[in-house]
Amino acid sequence: MQNTALLTVENLCVEIPTRRGILKPVDDVSLQIAPGEILGVVGESGAGKSMTGNAVIGLLDPPAHISGGQVLLNGKRVDNLPREQMRRVRGKQIGMVFQDPLTSLNPLLPIGDQLVETIQEHLPVSQREARDRAVAALDEVGIPAASSRIDSYPHEFSGGMRQRVVIALALCAEPDLVIADEPTTALDVSVQAQIISLLKKLCRERGTGVMLVTHDMGVIAEASDRVAVMYAGRLAEIGPVRQVLTDPQHPYTAGLMGSTPGASLGRRRLNQIPGTMPGLNAVPDGCAYHPRCPRAEAKCRAEPRPPVSGSASCWFPGEVKI
């Protein structure tokens, strides 16, 4: 596994020092992505899923910083690279697609200029060739009449088209890994289906690994090969998507599935998880989920927290069903 993985994240910890103590938005997370694989990262707001993506691509806002563990891309460490070297890796080897396509494009530049700039930054090609590549990239993501649209400004595109431009921008330097942070959350369902199918197609054709960060279980089920469920900065469960969603081992995954309206058809009431996710300044001892868990025992409340054994980080895996 070690040799074949495209991305290996080992025991990653991110810390934010504050006046009231150190917050740990990402706490001891390990995961791997193989070439051509889509790993879904799912969790509620504050679970640390975006933070994990940002840590991998080296875009943590100070004072947040990686405080432990390592990130290996194609077997080489990238988490401790100097700024300038990391800048070369970013874009060239790791592409990023953000949630809001309007804020991730420069409104004052035509999209062609933004693509050409990115291509020339990372690949040794002439201006003309870069432009040809830009047209090809736009064509590939399904923008109609790419050669005439290349000089349009971002505001001249619809939301779905803008997201396609952002994907073209992330892919134009042919990265090995793409981190897509809620790429379809701001889009309508019909456009969302288009973008998901585009991501899957590109990933399959090029062998690009994708880390798909989202809160939508439906998107995860349709798009990803494996899924990682995060809770309070920790990995609750990780495994093949079908197995995790149909036979969840961690009670949190089971609770999450039960509270998704589509999954509990015909029931008058949804299963609800009592309480809310703890704030980062008040993560409980032991298993972070124990105050909300129906199965919790004394062992869960005490340190050490349950290790990830099998697919779930739980002392009693598989004992809570939806």
């Binding site: 019909s190 079908r242 149909t246 309206p261 589509g262």
Partner: protein, 322 residues
């Protein structure tokens, strides 16, 4: 059962022209956007009517017209037999107004940050000079918060708790009809489940009628009794929930259902919908859906389909079959 809300021939037009000097210099005509166009629907008492549609379909506009935040351009909205925009008897209008309340999408923007929760919740009653003693405390407990929370400010609550406060405020004047505009789309799934459960419980206990506006089909399937599907300001299909989810008759509804991510559809390869929602300022001729419709014939480009009763459903399509 009798209809609480009767909407007939409702049309709402917005003037989206540029300022007059620009129009003069650029020789442009005035531009109008028909956000809602000739919508007929009735909402039975003690039922949940869900309006579904993508952005720009006019679902929120209908909600705003129903509560009286916008005036209809044509057509009428009658609530308990009173047309709020034409009725001249002030006492009748006043009486009906107190029966309508609204819950908005963002629980962050819809609570005044400078007011204490007690004042926020009591405002609908206080504004009419009613007795508010102990009211907020009672309502807070009814929506699952503590009476002691009345002395707090909105920023001390999480998103789900704030939405509960919004629900408590909506309940303060003992309304019959609550218009809910995307009440859970800003919430995480586990919190969404709590809020949806609370809303169904309140509906049963208090005999409420909901006009539920959302884009999330899974929520519709869970909550609604009757579903209306909107496309570009027109009602294209209306049916009881089970009939609609069993078999959608309008090609747009079918497309929407096909595109929505499903939690049990692992690795499903969807043929994503073609095209995007057209420009509502210059909508296509005839049936607005014809440029994207797989069934479209020449007649669809000329003639706008009327609503037809097909089995349990009402469908606006030339090609739909019962």
């Amino acid at each position: 059962m009798s209809a609480l809300v009767k909407i007939a021939g409702l049309t709402r037009i917005f003037d989206v022209s540029k300022p007059w000097l620009n129009r003069l210099l650029e020789r442009r005509p005035k531009a109008f956007l028909k956000a809602v166009s000739d919508v007929d629907l009735q909402i039975e008492e003690r039922t949940v009517y869900a309006l579904v549609g993508e952005s720009g379909s006019g679902k929120s506009t209908i909600g705003k017209v129903v509560v009286g935040l916008l005036a209809p351009s044509e057509g009428s909205v009658e609530i308990e037999g009173v047309d709020l925009h034409r009725e001249t008897d002030a006492a009748k209008v006043d009486h009906v107004r107190s029966d309508i309340q609204m819950i908005f999408q963002s629980p962050f923007a819809s609570l005044n940050p400078r007011w204490k929760v007690r004042d926020i919740i009591a405002e609908p009653v206080a504004a009419r000079g009613g007795d508010t003693k102990g009211l907020s405390e009672r309502l807070l407990e009814q929506v699952g918060l503590a009476a002691g929370d009345a002395d707090k400010f909105p920023h001390e609550f999480s998103g789900g708790q704030r939405q509960r406060i919004c629900i408590a405020r909506a309940l303060a004047s003992n309304p019959k009809l609550i218009v809910c505009d995307e009440p859970t789309s800003a919430l995480d799934v586990s919190v969404q489940a709590q809020v949806l459960n609370l809303m169904s419980d309140l509906q049963e206990d208090l005999g409420l009628t909901y006009l539920f506006i959302t884009h999330d089909l899974t929520v519709v399937q869970h909550m609604a009794d009757t579903v209306g599907v909107l496309y570009l300001g027109r009602l294209v299909e209306e049916a009881p929930r089970d009939a609609l989810f069993e078999r959608a008759r309008h090609p747009y509804t079918q497309m929407l259902f096909e595109a929505a991510p499903r939690i049990d559809a692992f690795g499903r390869e969807v043929d994503p919908p073609k095209g995007e929602i057209p420009d509502p300022i210059n909508p296509p001729s005839g049936c607005a859906f014809h440029p994207r419709c797989p069934l479209a014939i020449e007649r669809c480009t000329r003639e706008r389909p009327e609503m037809r009763q097909l089995g349990p459903a009402r469908v606006a399509c030339h090609m739909a079959e019962p």
